[in-house]
Chain length 173, copies 2
Amino acid sequence: MSLSMYTATVTSYRSMLKNLSAVIAKAEAHCEAKKIDPAAFLASRLYPDMLPFTSQVQIATDNAKGAAARLAGVEIPKFEDNEKSFPELQARLDKTIAFLDTLTEAQFEGAAGRDIVLQLRDRKMEFKGDVYLTQWANPNVYFHITTAYALLRHGGVEIGKKDYLSGGASQGK
Amino acid sequence: MSLSMYTATVTSYRSMLKNLSAVIAKAEAHCEAKKIDPAAFLASRLYPDMLPFTSQVQIATDNAKGAAARLAGVEIPKFEDNEKSFPELQARLDKTIAFLDTLTEAQFEGAAGRDIVLQLRDRKMEFKGDVYLTQWANPNVYFHITTAYALLRHGGVEIGKKDYLSGGASQGK
């Protein structure tokens, strides 16, 4: 028995996006309670030439829906990158999770051996599905979710590792 | 064709630990060039009650060796948590990678269905191997590697996403 590509992709990413959603809900509540303008968090960066919080969430969802769609062999849903608030970012997470929910285990049959071509700005990358998932998609998805979490944590939102690991998924959210 | 548990665990973590090693090498060079005491980075945190850089690296390796050993059904190598410098953290990464190198694909046969019991400080968790890997080990390993990266990036080390994704592994390091 090996690991199903569906479990490794859809199930994993769904949990992590739900957790991120719960973490963002805590940030919203924090802003409300402390009278903080959410824009301060949305534009926050760990270093001036790093992407801000909003982009981290956008890119996390892009990687999740991109990987799931490519591995399932379906078209990648396109989202405009126009979110300007926590609720709009929550809606983007919801849309991504709803897309993941449309995918079936059957679509991931053979996904580990599928040829994946990724057109980046400066180069084209080619992988087999399993290498794409484990060496590209996973490191990217977790990177951007962790960085979004880190920005909120750095800014004083009271969140902990447990929120990141199971804050949303464990609540059946 | 599904995803091999060996690829999903050993191959993934080995790459990421090599990348982290390359990122730390850049931090060492940065300290040398700018006459910065490395201790400033080693003790750095994103928030006062978050664990410092050194712990992030220790926990990243703990999760990597713990997951690989449990899934392979071998004893987890024990490391003392006594690293006090970048070279000592590099040695810990090297030891972890050397341990991963001892594991074979055959040891991961059936790992997806293996019963994994995790004794945490406050509770016991039980998983099947595939759920343990995708819902616990992966989120943890990537979290601590990304947080270590974030601390260096936040502190001004000139590293980018490419270093995190392939800084060490792509150089055959």
